[in-house]
């Protein structure tokens, strides 16, 4: 029996996709989509790119009127503070909401850095509001220190350089992305960042912020004793699941997105979903995973057949490179690199010789073939 009212907590891609698919597949009960932010569902990947660069303002996932036309009740600016899974009640900043099925799509929030916590002009980038604040400080000649050369850090660095900002970038490892992409590819990217004028520091431990008059930032202090001048700092050291409503560090689900609680589902960045192909729970922060999981949860609620497990995929636009990564970034033993710094591919093999992931740089025409090849490899395994 399908529920009367589905409450979806979190109006990002996973939550909004779940709502859409519920309607698209014929659900006639109430759909309440509650989001903490004031903005209707939008494309988060644009925050570090087009929106930050000021090239695009409309980043909404769907046109105005889309949600009301489908009788999806958007409750924006609504924070769910607590849930009672036995009584099926959510307690929000604007009263209680009863549910028959609950979908947790609360996403993730930026990891904090204790040494920079609570300092003025120290920013994070997760929400549209964060991006709008950061955009104001990206002026030619300003000096931005970015802590963490992950995807957010690297993309902001790229956008900031285009805007004429002086950028210093601090990475704890030996190269950017060395854990996922390996030191060879990391080295190629490091060279690229430096030739674009980024002051890249590797093996860097950021110890704190030195301030001048009116507590204005003056420099980032490194554990090695060096100081690097800056006017503002961005902390981009990853994100952690916003899982506190169920009291854990993450929310584990089965392959369809069902948690250990009856009628409570989870999808997107908050969810560690069971992946049969690797026989473990995997939490990813990728666009494609959020979209597929949101749809899978909708189908599970309706009792429809499950969505096939999607091949992990992410992309990044930085310093004139479109990076596309297909497959599992962990568990590879050997990398085969081919091409030039302007256009290359890196193929990642497991110890047994099986291809597990591929990174393409400015090779979009190979993406579909690579994805097929990896899907075949997984089937054969």
């Amino acid at each position: 029996m399908t529920p009367d009212r589905v409450l979806i907590v979190g109006a990002g891609l996973a939550g909004s996709r779940c709502a859409e698919v519920l309607r698209a597949e014929g659900f006639e009960g109430e759909v309440v989509l509650a989001g903490e932010e004031e903005h209707p569902p939008y494309e988060r990947p644009a925050l570090s790119k087009e929106l930050l660069a000021g090239r695009r303002e409309d980043i909404d996932l769907r046109p105005a009127g889309f949600w009301s036309k489908r009788e999806i009740e958007l409750r924006l600016g609504t924070r769910v503070q607590r849930i009672d899974v036995r009584r099926r009640l959510a307690f929000t900043s604007a009263g209680q909401i009863r549910w028959d099925a609950l979908v947790l799509a609360t996403g993730a929030r930026p990891r904090r850095l204790p040494t920079l916590e609570g300092r003025p002009s120290v920013h994070a980038l997760r929400s549209r509001t964060d991006a709008e604040i950061l955009r104001e400080i990206l002026r030619p000649g300003r000096r931005l220190a970015i802590v963490g050369a992950g995807f957010v850090g690297a993309e902001v660095a790229s956008t900031a350089r285009q805007l004429g900002v002086e950028v210093s970038l601090f990475e704890a490892g030996e190269t950017p992305f060395s854990a996922v992409l390996g030191p060879e590819v990391g080295g190629l990217l490091a060279d690229r960042y430096r030739s674009a004028g980024v002051d890249l520091h590797v093996h860097a431990r950021v110890d704190g912020l030195r301030t001048g008059p009116q507590q204005r930032p003056r420099a980032v202090a490194l554990a090695c004793g060096n100081e690097v001048p800056c006017d503002a700092a961005l902390v981009a050291v990853g994100a952690e699941p916003a899982a506190e409503l169920l009291g854990g560090a993450t929310v584990e689900t089965n392959v369809c997105g069902l948690t250990a609680w009856p009628k409570v589902y989870a999808c997107g960045d908050v969810a560690a979903v069971w992946r049969p192909s690797v026989a473990r729970h995997v939490r990813t922060e990728h666009w494609t995973s959020a979209a597929v999981q949101g749809a899978a949860v909708a189908r599970a609620i309706l009792g429809h057949s499950a969505t096939a497990e999607a091949m992990p995929y992410f992309w990044s636009d930085q310093f004139g490179l479109r990076l596309q990564h297909v497959g599992y970034g962990s568990g590879w033993a050997r990398v085969a690199l081919e091409g030039t710094p302007e256009s290359f591919s890196a193929r990642y093999y497991a110890r047994d010789g099986r291809l597990v992931a591929v990174l393409l740089a400015n090779r979009q025409h190979e993406a579909a073939a690579v994805r097929r090849e990896l899907t075949e490899c997984r089937r054969a395994a």
Binding site: A24, W287, T288, A291, A295, Q364, H365, E366, R371, R372
Partner: protein
Amino acid sequence: MFRIAIDRSLCSGFGSCVDAAPQLFRIGDDGIAVALFEKSDVPAVLEAARSCPMGAIALLDEQGQEAA
């Protein structure tokens, strides 16, 4: 009935549209998705548009408004 519009500047050639609706899409020689028909009403067209990580596939109504 939807009119299928692919934004070539957005398409990244990932090919999820081809998986969702092989009867409607293919990846061209330049690595960019191509719609095999201008219009379609098969349900898989919705799935194809939704599966696109770049949001490059728009489904338009008769007035050219985004319909789904």
